[in-house]
Symmetry: C2
Subunit: 132 residues, 2 copies
């Protein structure tokens, strides 16, 4: 198994060389803020225009959403189709490669369902501590 | 299934309210930069001092690593133990809750092994495009 993030040209990879962590590159690719949310929405609701996607992701700014979509397009997880109409129309769609993530997302959803309450409890206890 | 990130007090949750994405909160908790790497290392190499952990994560600054460890401690995924010795010694260890992530991490590693080459190819093609 290769664990490096070689091939990234635009931004230096944080997990280069003799990185012992085999999920570093994948988690960088997938789990920057909003990224999983965008993929989840496109996979479950199909092809979508920018404005509709934005409406489904509360709190994201247009600038950030555009940057995330561009990153996903570069990673081969989303396609961007420009329709030459008047006015022009641009649609985003999850790729077959993105669909290979379904079991990963499903497992993460399952983990959340089982353990997120424990995370929340830990946070409350941490915030209530005197010594923090 | 509840998908909100309620309970976060220190920072406003990005996925509040009627969020349709059930993995948003989990991916926020787990996959900020370096986080999965820290957990992976602590789970595979056991309890560790700050300096040793830092040596195993190339590229991370002490400030960022300290912040990530604090976040993981708050989330109940890492414990921090202070030994009153001379000089004092602080050790970090993955919790039982962190160990519930093992199948998630394993699936992510498997996904990387199978599909990361396709991501890299997509990146090269994107970077070579004229219209980007």
């Amino acid at each position: 198994m290769t664990a490096t993030a070689a091939g990234k040209r635009a931004e230096p990879a944080p997990h280069e060389g003799d990185d012992p962590c085999p999920i570093g590159a994948a988690s960088e690719a997938l789990f920057s803020r909003w990224t999983s949310h965008v993929l989840w929405t496109l996979q479950h609701e199909g092809r979508m225009r920018f404005g509709d996607l934005r409406a489904r992701i509360p709190g994201v700014t247009p600038k950030v959403l555009a940057a995330r979509l561009r990153k996903l397009e570069r990673d081969g997880l989303v396609t961007r189709t420009y329709h030459r109409e008047m006015p022009p129309r641009v649609e985003y769609e999850a790729t077959d490669l993105a669909r290979t993530l379904t079991p990963v997302f499903r497992m993460l959803a399952q983990w959340s369902e089982r353990h997120l309450d424990a995370v929340r409890t830990a946070r409350s206890e941490f915030d209530a501590r005197d010594d923090r």
